[in-house]
Amino acid sequence: MTSFKLTINGRARTVIADGETPLLWILRDSLGLTGTKYGCGHGVCGACTVHLDGEPTRSCQVTLRAAEGHAITTIEGLSADGSHPVQRAWLEEDVAQCGYCQPGMIMTAAALLHQKPLPTEEDLQEAFADHVCRCGTYGRIRKAVKRAAGGVR
């Protein structure tokens, strides 16, 4: 067990844990940030997506040790009141069904729009190719990303 210093949602946090623990479980079990979801543990469903220095990253594939020194943003840090343009677009398009995969989808959408304010259909397909929504909300995700496009700084 070692002590690690993380920067999560702009706040410094100290965690004492095995450095090989995936960031996902540190967020969920050690820090109580349960908005980041477990879906597969293999980086193939996208439910655990967070931002690492702005890059969409599967938190189940990053160890605690590797996360140190990077700016980590989770769904809780996007905005607590749902005011981020992507969150607003998600509400306006009434995207969520069960909602479990949505924090990961939203984090990917926010990163995509930050990098490409006006994404093409190909950009969308590439960004969401490794995300699973079993409820099948993909059509509304497309609409919500397009709605939010241009509204993300």
Binding site: M1, A17, D18, T21, P22, W25, R28, D29, S30, G32, L33, T34, G35, T36, K37, Y38, G39, C40, G41, H42, V44, C45, I75, E76, L78, S79, A80, D81, G82, Q87, W90, L91, E92, D94, A96, Q97, C98, G99, Y100, C101, Q102, P103, I106, L124, Q125, F128, A129, D130, H131, V132, C133, R134, C135, G136, T137, Y138, G139, R140, I141, R142
Partner: protein
């Protein structure tokens, strides 16, 4: 009139405002508990501060019941929607019918919720009229207020206490649909903000003081038993506290999820299992048994006319076989439950579609009475029928007891979720049609062979309804054919089976609707025209206990075809295909798919779907169910579960390629809302996806 009093009861005590308990006179349904009809299972409370609390007796798994059901109450009560708080009930004597499945939540509660809302509204109005000493007829309600003559106005909250002392009206008048303000509106999901901010709590997000985490090492082969193990390596993993034996295997108790997972990994190699009878089971042998069963004896599900004679005199006959592979539910949130067990009480936090059964079975496993087990329901990260099972909740209770009480969260990892599913079984279908000299369809036979879900669900016993349940979607073939035989040949298989979104209707309608296109092709007839002709002038037709109004089916077929531009010229390599079905005689759906095949790759470009499920309570939620239901069906074009050496071969999303965004077609939904009572929409779109797409592929590759 007295019957009304039976379903509404004042529950509040002084100072709590007006609290009404409702008994939902639900029609017994496939998924519902028969006791449901006689128990209250919703409450509504008008608090003195004017807010209204509605407790929903169904669980939210993405289908929108926490939005739709309160809308129904709020409409009749004339509530201010922004001042409604929505709670999910806990199972128990007040909520006996929480089972959520079979697309029945709205249909089974529609009238009772409306009556309850109307009764509460009348009581509040009466309270105001008495207070103001004015005739009742001069009072009306609007947005949470009673309005009286001369500008009198009183909020529901200020009237709640007085209203609670009045008798529940014996007779209420429901609003005319033309007066609806909320119902029929596109209201967003009430849980939306919590979901997009990450605040929504699912089963895996439950955090109790002192909570520990556990994983369970189970036998990979169904029915296998643990022989021996060595816990030393597991206990050497940092964070692992104990290894305890439970009926399903060995539980690794740890201070974090990660330690519980690592501990189990360390334990796995040391465990030795008696894999039992199922260790030689594989998909190949199952398929050859099913193939044999296509020609062997079977249980009749429905027979019309003299089928053998009809085939004998037919000018010609057509035959085709269809195969539908086994499927997993693959909810994004894997199975899990959190349990805390004391000597005479227990608490469970668990996303379940069968809350009452969770309570009963956990109680039985712990030697407690159901009322000693409290069950709290977070949101469900997907259900699709998987969470009708109670295997994971009972196991969590057993783990907590074995580990000294808890609270312990038992988490299934993705592999557990795939390899310990309650599977949708594979089926083979043999279809045969007899044609008359002028091309009319004179005989129809549909043989289904496969393992029986209902037997697995009934603890291995054959249920008298087995053939009709396994043939749902086949026996209710809507087409006017003088001789019909639908039967089911059961093939034993060792895996545990369960209900999957759309149940057996999905494979059965797939085979039926694809075969119909084969017939159309053989006859040189347009598939739409053939269906319309076969639906003919039929009105209401009874299929077993269901009755379908086939005029409504014909209508959705015509609408879907028209909106999709049926018959227009398609680009080379593209085709259009359609499918329709009257789901349980309640919901009518038709879909037209546009698909292409290029370089061996199937692409679905667009699906146009028309759905008639009676009155559309919330079109946004309803359309979401159609979009999602079609996506759920489409996934099964690519996914399958197979078995080798008694084990499920597919262990996760990497080898179970569910539909993803790049392959999601454009979906156009046309809701045909009517004044008929609402039926249901979660399952009905699912069976339309595969046959409409495959018929489009057939058309594209002719």
């Amino acid at each position: 009139m007295t019957r009304r009093r039976e379903f509404l009861k004042i529950l509040g005590t002084a100072g709590t405002g007006l609290v009404l308990g409702l008994r939902l006179a639900a029609k017994p349904s496939r998924a519902a508990d028969p006791k449901e009809a006689f128990r209250p299972n919703a409450t509504l409370a008008v608090r003195p501060d004017g807010t209204v609390k509605i407790t929903v007796g169904k669980v939210e798994m993405g289908q929108g019941v926490r939005t739709a059901l309160p809308m129904v109450v709020a409409e009749e009560m004339d509530l201010d929607w922004s001042r409604v708080d929505i709670l999910t009930a806990q199972p128990g004597p007040d909520f006996m019918g929480m089972s959520t499945g079979g697309s029945t939540s709205v249909s089974s509660t529609w009238l009772p919720l409306r009556r309850a809302g109307a009764a509460a509204r009348d009581m509040l109005k009466q309270a105001a009229a008495s207070q103001w000493r004015v005739p009742l007829e001069q009072c009306r309600t609007e947005q949470g207020f009673v309005l009286g003559p001369g500008g009198k106005k009183a909020g529901f909250g200020s009237l709640a206490e007085a209203a609670s002392k009045l008798p529940v009206p014996a007779k209420v008048t429901l609003k005319a649909p033309g007066d609806f303000r909320l119902l029929g509106q596109r209201l967003p999901r009430v849980d939306g903000l919590d979901i997009v901010t990450g605040r929504a709590v699912y089963g895996l997000d439950v955090r109790r003081p002192g909570q520990r985490y556990a994983t369970v090492l189970r036998c990979a082969v169904s029915g296998g038993q643990l022989r021996s193990w060595d816990q030393a390596k597991a206990l050497a993993v940092a964070g692992v506290q104990a290894v305890v034996k439970v009926p399903t295997g060995l539980a690794v108790i740890a201070d974090s999820t990660w330690a519980a997972l690592k501990g189990r990994e360390a334990l796995a190699g040391s465990a030795s299992w008696d894999e039992g009878m199922a260790r030689d089971f594989d998909s190949q042998s199952l398929e050859s048994s099913m193939r044999q069963a296509l020609a062997g004896p079977a249980d009749p599900a429905r027979t019309v006319g003299d089928v053998d004679q009809a085939f004998k005199v037919a000018a010609r006959s057509l035959e085709a076989d269809y195969a539908f592979p086994s499927q997993a539910h693959a909810t994004l949130e894997p199975m899990n439950a959190t349990a805390s067990v004391g000597r005479a009480d227990a608490e469970l936090w668990c996303g379940s579609q069968s809350p009452n059964r969770v309570q009963e079975r956990a109680a039985a496993a712990l030697g407690l009475e159901p009322d000693q087990v409290q069950v709290t329901l977070p949101l469900l990260g997907g259900g699709f029928g998987r969470r009708l099972g109670t295997d994971f909740s009972t196991e969590a209770a057993q783990v907590a007891r074995a580990a000294g009480g808890g609270p312990i969260q038992v988490i299934w990892d993705r592999t557990d979720d795939f390899t310990q599913d309650l599977y949708h079984p594979p089926t083979l279908h043999h279809l045969r049609a007899g044609l008359g000299a002028t091309g009319q369809l004179t005989a129809w036979s549909h043989r289904i062979a496969g393992p029986a879900v209902l037997r697995s669900w009934s603890g291995g016993k054959k249920n008298p309804a087995q053939a009709s349940v396994e043939a749902n979607g086949a026996l209710d073939i809507p087409y006017d054919i003088p001789a019909i035989r639908v039967d089911f040949a059961e093939v034993p298989a060792p895996m545990t089976l369960g209900w999957w979104r759309g149940i057996q209707i999905v494979p059965n309608v797939f085979a039926r609707e694809c075969f119909l296109d084969e017939i159309a092709h053989a006859l040189g007839t347009d598939p739409l025209q053939l269906r319309l002709r076969l639906l003919g002038q039929q009105g209401k037709v009874k299929f077993g206990r269901d009755e379908a109004d086939l005029r409504r089916l014909k209508r959705v077929l015509e609408v879907a075809a028209e909106k999709a531009g049926w018959g227009r010229t398609m680009p080379r390599g593209h085709g259009m295909g359609l499918a329709c079905h009257a789901y349980d005689g309640r919901t009518y759906g038709a879909a037209v798919a546009e698909a292409s095949v290029a370089e061996g790759r199937l692409r679905v470009h667009r699906i146009t779907c028309a759905l008639d499920c009676g009155f559309a309570v919330n079109p946004s939620g309803l359309e979401a169910q159609v979009e999602g239901g079609l996506a759920f069906g489409l996934s099964a074009l690519w996914t399958r579960i197979t078995w080798e050496k008694g084990r499920a071969v597919q262990t996760g999303f990497q080898d179970f390629p569910l539909l993803r965004l790049p392959d999601m077609p454009e979906v156009r939904v046309h809701i045909i809302s009517s004044s008929e009572a609402p039926s249901g929409a979660g399952e009905p779109p699912v069976p339309l996806a595969i046959p409409s797409v495959l018929n489009a592929v057939f058309a594209a590759t002719l």
